[in-house]
Amino acid sequence: MKTTKIREKIIETLFLICALISVISVVAIIAFVFSKGLKPFFGENAYSFTDFITGVHWNPENNQYGVFYMIAGSVFATAGAILVGVPIGLLTAVFIAEVAPKSIVNIIKPAIELLAGIPSVIYGAFGMGIILPIIQKISPQPQGQSLLAVICVLTIMILPTIITLSESALRAVPNSYSEASLGLGASKMQTIFCSVVPAAKSGILSATVLGIGRAIGETMAVMMIAGNAIGGIPTSIWDKVRPLTVNISMEMGYASGRHQEMLFATGVVLFVFIMFVNITVMRITRKAGEKN
């Protein structure tokens, strides 16, 4: 009897260890990325952190590492994608959840799921093959690689996230709300936009924030179409940009020493952004959870 008890305890501990691997991983990732990424700012021959965070030129050969224009690039690209993608995604979700007949839902939903599963490099291929030539034609600048191209591709990439999460938020709204609204003489559209959508707002909000996370962390697709400028804050949508993620993956293959550490430092900046996004999502979902 006692041995079984001990055995149970041992196995439970084993399970606990498995569960702790996630914690260990997060801690390890943070520790390694931060320790390597913060190294250039301390000790002898330290690089000024202010220069790093406010600089607008990236030129490893001249020991020039400024990431401010990359932060701007990431923020602009993400904001653009959210501005365009959230309305489209939300409307599509409303269509799927509230309006479309079942037969159409059965076509659209798998399509959206497939869109969600397509790897980012294929979006990059699409951007290179279709979006860049089009932009090149209409752009006042000679190249197609631009902030606009990045926004287009990121918009498409966050659509599935926005649509699926908003749709489930909309579906979770109790029927009684729309009944009450219809009972007051509201039309179907009024019911949807004045009562169902507002009731789903926390779900839609967390979908949006997750979309931000996806957009800001996206690398491979963006790398092929951003133009990867070596300096300067983008001033128009036709300008080349170099988001944070791209900076890391562009040069990781051959960087070493200080240069490599600076790529990790870029990773730290990216990480801080993502952490912010993550915590926001957790806040929203926790709040929504408390309400129910």
Binding site: R7, E8, I11, E12, F15, C18, A19, I21, S22, V23, S25, V26, A28, I29, F32, V33, K36, L90, L91, T92, F95, V99, I108, P110, A111, L114, L115, G117, I118, P119, S120, V121, I122, G124, A125, F126, M128, G129, I130, I156, L159, K188, M189, I192, G213, G217, E218, T219, T245, I248, S249, M252, G253, G267, L270, I274, M275, N278, V281, M282
Partner: protein, 385 residues
């Protein structure tokens, strides 16, 4: 209340409806355009050779002991002393189309003396010093027959044609198996701990927080971490093991949360009745809880496979981009490109959109099949309950 604004309401409703349809059409259109683009560019390049051949052509010099034969079957396309059927390929070289059972080409040796088996589709580009380009089969046959009479050993230059994605398919498979071998047990047991054992409290909060954090970290950061820790510090070099270890961490949140959902969906009564029959908690978990969560676990694994197939940023700097079938877990020979990383490399470094799209077609079909599979499993098993 009088409805005075019926007109404007109808207009607003119509606008709303139009917007809904437009947005949905736009969403679906993007998919159609993307798939259309990939298929139009990529489908022409897809054939059996593309799917089965090696990526790079490989040339080997071999020594063949010819067989002195009295075979009278001297059709143009049959070289009796080699026991091989051949034909002239598009480039004018001699391609092997069929090998007899006792063909001497099957036990030829390379210059180092190691066995090298010539296979159908290989191309003989040189016989001794003679280039076989545009050589007539008659001449060729004569040359071989003469040599065979004298019982000579002939040196041949054999090229195994490339242009296929076999190494990437195999590497992808290896990485899937390796990653899941690491991540699936850890993830499933973690989920078991979280749903069946953990009490509300600090540990649970910390673990759940960590899982949510992991889920939000972009793959490029995983790539950075994997390169620093596995590739450099643990000296694995670009290798499938380094790639798989990196991916295992990346997969944990998916596996844990999907499995947890499945575990939570199991009615309490199952556990209670098992415990009530005198089973221990462990027995209950392995005999009742896990088997009932199997569909959910399967879905978790399928989702993970999809994620692995699509991953690039976390793999390029951990598993490398060499198109070869890895022959070890770490070190030089273990570097391997998956389909997706190869696709990236083709696009970015070589600008070869057509081949890239051909690979993309394979990937999309794969993802689509995985989607169908996970849906089928979900539907099948939820209906039953």
């Amino acid at each position: 209340m009088k409805i005075e604004n019926n007109q404007s309401r109808i207009i607003k409703d119509t606008i709303g409806k139009i917007l809904l349809y437009l947005a949905s059409a736009l969403s679906v259109m993007t998919l159609v355009v993307i798939i259309g683009f990939v298929f139009v560019k990529g489908l022409p390049g897809i054939n059996i050779d593309f799917l089965t051949r090696q990526w790079q052509a490989k040339t080997t010099f071999i020594n063949v002991e010819l067989k002195n034969t009295e075979d009278t079957n001297l059709s143009d396309s049959y070289i009796a002393s080699l026991g091989a059927h051949v034909e002239q390929n598009e480039d004018g070289y001699i391609a092997v189309t069929k090998l007899e059972k006792d063909s001497v080409l099957k036990d030829s040796k390379n210059l180092k003396g190691a066995a090298y088996e010539v296979k159908v589709d290989d191309v003989i580009t040189k016989v001794l010093a003679t280039d076989t380009k545009n050589i007539t089969l008659e001449e060729l046959n004569k040359q071989f027959n003469d040599a065979a009479m004298n019982g000579e050993t002939l040196k041949l230059k054999v090229t195994r044609p490339g242009g296929g994605i076999k190494p990437m398919v195999v590497s992808t498979l290896y990485i899937i198996l390796l990653s899941l071998a690491i991540a699936a047990p850890i993830g499933i047991l973690s989920a078991l701990f979280l749903t069946e054992y953990a009490k509300r409290g600090k540990i649970l909060v910390v673990i759940q927080f960590a899982i949510q954090m992991l889920a939000g970290i972009p793959s490029i950061i995983y790539g950075l971490f994997g390169m620093l820790v596995f590739v450099q510090m643990l000296k694995m070099q670009y290798s499938i093991l380094a790639g798989a270890l990196t991916l295992s961490i990346l997969l944990l949140p998916t596996i844990i949360s999907t499995t947890s959902e499945a575990l939570k969906a199991i009615p309490k009564g199952y556990r209670e009745s098992s415990l009530g029959l005198g089973a221990t908690k462990l027995q209950t978990n392995f005999k009742i809880v896990l088997p009932n969560a199997l569909p959910g676990i399967l879905v978790a694994i399928i989702l993970s496979i999809g994620r692995i197939v699509g991953e690039s940023a976390a793999l390029i700097w951990t598993a490398g981009t060499i198109a070869q079938i890895p022959s070890s877990l770490t070190g030089n020979t273990a570097s391997a490109a998956t389909l997706t990383t190869k696709l990236y490399q083709l696009l970015k470094e070589e600008g070869d959109v057509a081949s890239a799209c051909s690979i993309a077609v394979v990937i999309i079909v794969l993802i689509w099949v995985l989607n169908l599979l996970s849906k089928w499993i979900t539907r099948r098993f939820t209906v039953k309950n």
